[in-house]
């Protein structure tokens, strides 16, 4: 039995509006809109950061001021006014909470509505949750169990205070602040995020999970995540996003850096469901994310799995630098767009070490008047003797006004490399629909069934509870797309 495809509540999920659209009324500590060195100093001071971090932020900021917003992606959106964004907001009741009982009840209620009963879910599923509410980490569970294994899992701010040597050693080594416009902005302005350190030889005893939410109007969110897997260690990290409904566009520019040392494995899974805007394309999150993993040691492995269903604009290319010999990079992606959503997403696999291998499986589904683009780079340097890449990139179009694009870049400089790319674009076959209906399924169920089948290669890479959530998300996202 394939339980991953069981999907009982399907009908109820279809035909309803974005369910996570509500706003929690909590007083916030917000700085006025606008960017300046002063704002950066304020953020750094607020977080009691070491001096080197402030210096790094300021260098990033000065560099960012010299940069121009990139225009090569196939995305159309009105210009972003960076002076109209508030760069810091924190719930009034700030950290220092000893137990979950101390958390603002309204906050807990918010998580309930989102279907994330924090303590329940955490206990039942054995998942430690570091919940980021807007910009500041509110509570962290399972700290003791993780601590016993020597695993550090905390907010980025806390890590900057408690483990400055690790931050100093690794921050910006995978995604330098000069890397791109949005990464530079994040490096200057990031307010919080998650930090994970897995010591040598340790297999992290549980899946690590963070729920990000944007809750403050006109609040850009700039998380910074850093995961370090020491020699021979193993970690699986889950990231899920939902956001309240808003009419004004919100900017989200996160940076995620992964470092895998010799024989280490990092698995990073994302379900992204930021508010996508309404049927007419009003509102919705602008999601400009830089995610990159560095397979620094031999035999290391980094695997990205993402289900991208939300956001008005998605600009995201989780990548792997395959530096260590025999290292492995994977990218499994489902990107769903509906109404007027636009997604330009894919990956980069940079083969440097010998016998490095990468696999890319991308499934794009475009419905309504949306645009979905896959953009991926496979680069094989002359040193990457024996490198292998396989890329499969399929698009499914629903409705005659949607569009799907595929832009694979392959830059090959080693003759011993084998690089293969396959792509198809099609719609759901009338004969497939009829066949399923002849067996008794409704049109809607038949569509969901076929779409889930189309995405199966990616879903099976997700941890079980995420896989179910991802399927539900897909069905909700495609509501009314066919028929």
């Amino acid at each position: 039995m394939d339980s991953k495809l069981q999907n009982p509540g399907l009908n109820e999920l279809v035909n309803r509006r974005y369910q996570h659209g509500f706003v929690t009324d909590i007083e916030s500590d917000t700085v006025p809109p606008g960017h300046s060195e002063q704002v950066i100093r304020f953020i750094s001071q607020k977080k009691d950061e070491p001096a080197f971090l402030l210096e790094w932020r300021l260098k990033a900021y000065r560099h960012w001021l010299t940069m121009r917003e990139p225009g090569w992606a196939r995305l159309h959106y009105p210009p972003i006014d960076y002076q109209d964004i508030s760069y810091f907001s924190a719930p009034r009741k700030t950290p220092g909470l000893k137990s979950i009982d101390e958390v603002d009840p309204k906050l807990l209620a918010t998580y309930e509505k989102l279907g994330v009963p924090l303590h329940e879910r955490a206990r039942l599923a054995g998942v430690a949750v570091d919940a980021v509410f807007d910009s500041v980490s509110v509570t962290t569970t399972f700290r003791d169990k993780l601590a016993a294994a020597g695993v550090i899992f905390c907010s980025f701010s806390e890590a900057a205070r408690e483990h400055p040597e690790l931050i100093r050693q690794y921050l910006g080594t995978v995604v330098p602040y000069r890397d791109n416009y949005f990464a530079a902005l994040n490096s200057a302005m990031f307010t919080d995020g998650s930090f994970v350190y897995i010591p040598k030889g340790v297999r992290c005893p549980m899946e690590l999970s963070t729920y990000f939410r944007i809750n403050q109007a006109k609040t850009g969110q700039f998380e910074r995540t850093l995961i370090i897997a020491e020699e021979g260690s193993h970690v699986s990290y889950l990231e899920g996003c939902t956001a309240p409904q808003r009419d004004e566009n919100q900017l989200h520019a996160a940076v995620v850096e992964l470092v895998a040392l010799k024989d280490a494995t990092i698995k990073y899974s994302t379900v992204q469901n930021w508010y996508p805007g309404d049927e007419e394309g009003r509102g919705g999150i602008y999601n400009f994310v830089t995610k990159r993993g560095d397979c620094r040691g031999a035999n290391s492995k980094i695997s990205w799995t993402q289900v991208e269903a939300g956001s008005a604009i998605t600009w995201k290319y989780p990548s792997c630098i395959l530096r260590g010999d025999n290292s492995v990079g994977e990218f499994y992606s489902v990107a769903v767009t509906n109404n007027l959503q636009q997604a330009d997403t894919g990956t980069k696999m940079i083969h440097i070490g010998r016998n490095t291998r990468s696999t890319i499986v991308s499934k794009g589904i475009a419905a309504g008047r949306s645009q979905s683009a896959y953009r991926g780079l496979v680069k094989v340097l002359p040193t990457a003797e024996g490198a292998r890449n396989f890329t499969q990139c399929d698009s499914l179009l629903m409705g005659s006004r949607s569009a799907a694009h595929t832009y694979p870049y392959m830059e090959i400089r080693n003759p011993g490399a084998i690089v293969e790319h396959e792509a198809t674009t099609s719609k759901i076959g009338d004969d497939q629909l009829f066949y399923c209906r002849q067996r008794g399924l409704s049109q809607e169920d038949a569509v969901n069934l076929i779409v889930n089948g189309f995405c199966k290669q990616v879903f099976r890479e997700l941890p079980m509870e995420f896989a179910v959530e991802a399927q539900n998300l897909l069905n909700v996202s495609l509501e009314g797309a066919v028929g």
């Binding site: 090569w72 595929t406 392959m410 003759p415 011993g416 690089v419 790319h421």
Partner: protein
């Protein structure tokens, strides 16, 4: 933005604007070309369409020619030794100027007329203007076509009314460069509805040549064009080439493009399937050895229902060569029941060589079947071993596999005997390959 379009270029464009009285009818088109250049400049690496190909040497050499105030119009008497293609009708443009038929040329096939742009009647000028204005190439390549428009001193207008009952023999067009000026060859080709034409376009040049060719073709309803392009220029020749083909209802294009020579060659081939039922089959092969750089950019634009396209490029890179392939398939809204397949196959034989390939799909309608694929790798070790168990030496076995790889393209050339002749040429080319890994 005004990259590379320095005063030398501007002055040359202004000079040629009124240089040839017989081409005064082009004035408006030339003026708009000059403004395109003033606005966009010449392509550079910062543009997405040019990320793998630098025109620095090209622009420098062009500026040097222009600084000598040598324009193509002055070099009409320059001669070039070219092998005669015995027994075949042929026409030649030398540095862009249509040459009087030589002794080796036979009369044009029945139903085919060919005229210099300088000799067009008012009626034909109107037709030619329509073709000259047919530009649906991506913005980033348009400056090169505009440069040709601004600087051209002649061109060929060719029209076929030959029908299937009397299929004409292949017509050989030679685009030759003397190496003393920047050539701006221009071809305008029309196929009347229901007509047929088989064309061989061959680039030839002396050492150090520089050319910027533009070809515009319109295939009328139900017509059929077989196009073979051969580029085997000397190792220091620079060539840019922009070709745009429009197909009306049920028209068929079968094109083969071969690049074996040159220092830097960039081809932009765009095909617009404007009419329902139009189809395009495009095959290409390129060999980059030495320090050769060959860049093929193709766009097939499906603009009408029931259109079809198949495209396959084979690339071989060795030595310090670099091969670039960027194939784009676009399916416009309403172009339902489009079927399209695009493939890029590459052999990379040296660590100093590079292949950059980018097969793209842009799909704006749901009722389509589109696929693309790309592979890059070295010779199949199993196949090599198999051949050696049958008694071939290692070099022989490699040579056999390389030949087989490129011959996949030649096998598709029509008519067949032409394919055989081209294959013989390719074979001698491969035997002389300049690459350490062979």
């Amino acid at each position: 933005m005004n990259t590379g379009f320095s005063p030398i270029w501007r002055d040359a464009c202004q000079r040629s604007r009124n240089a040839i009285p017989q081409l005064a009818w082009l004035k408006e088109l030339r003026d708009s070309a000059i403004s395109v250049l003033a606005e966009h400049g010449l392509p550079d690496l910062t543009q997405e369409e040019w990320r793998y190909t630098s025109l620095t040497d090209y622009v420098q050499r062009g500026a040097a020619y222009l600084a000598d105030k040598v324009t193509a119009a002055d070099t009409a008497t320059a001669t070039l030794t070219v092998e005669e293609t015995v027994g075949q009708p042929h026409l030649e443009l030398l540095d862009g100027l249509l040459q009087e038929p030589g002794s080796g040329a036979r009369v044009l096939p029945a139903g085919v007329e060919a005229l210099s742009l300088r000799q067009l009647s008012p009626e034909l000028r109107a037709r030619a203007t329509g073709l000259l204005a047919s530009h649906k190439t991506p913005d980033d390549t348009r400056p090169l076509a505009a440069l040709n428009m601004a600087l051209l001193s002649d061109g060929l207008y060719l029209r076929s009314t030959a029908t299937a009952d009397t299929p004409p023999p292949p017509l050989h067009l030679r685009l030759a460069s003397s190496g003393t000026a920047m050539a701006q060859p221009r071809l305008l080709i029309e196929l009347a509805p229901g007509s047929q034409l088989s064309l061989i376009i061959e680039h030839q040049s002396a050492a150090g040549a520089l050319a910027n060719a533009v070809t515009q073709i319109r295939c009328g309803a139900g017509s059929r064009l077989d196009l073979l392009r051969i580029q085997d220029l000397p190792a220091d020749a620079l060539l840019t080439e922009t070709t745009h083909v429009e197909l009306d209802r049920d028209a068929t294009l079968s094109a083969t493009s071969l690049d074996f020579g040159g220092q830097l060659v960039r081809q932009d081939l765009s095909v617009a399937l404007n009419g329902a039922g139009a189809t395009a089959n495009i095959n290409g092969a390129f060999v980059v050895d030495g320090h050769r750089h060959i860049d093929n950019h193709t766009t097939i634009d499906h603009r009408a229902p029931d259109t079809g396209s198949r495209e396959m490029f084979h690339g071989l890179a060795t030595g310090h060569g670099r091969g670039v392939f960027n194939g784009r398939i676009v399916v416009q809204p309403g172009a339902v029941r489009t079927a399209s397949a695009l493939n890029s196959r590459n052999l990379l034989l040296a660590t100093t060589a590079e292949i950059d390939t980018k097969p793209e799909l842009e799909i704006f309608t749901d009722d389509v079947r589109c696929s693309h694929g790309a592979t890059t790798g070295e010779l199949d070790a199993n196949a090599l071993f198999y051949l050696r168990t049958r008694g071939l030496g290692p070099d022989e076995a490699r040579q056999a596999l390389i030949t087989a790889f490129l011959h996949a393209t030649l096998a598709l050339i029509t008519p067949e005997d032409l394919g055989v002749r081209v294959a013989a040429r390719l074979q001698s080319r491969l035997e002389a390959l300049d690459g350490a890994a062979i």
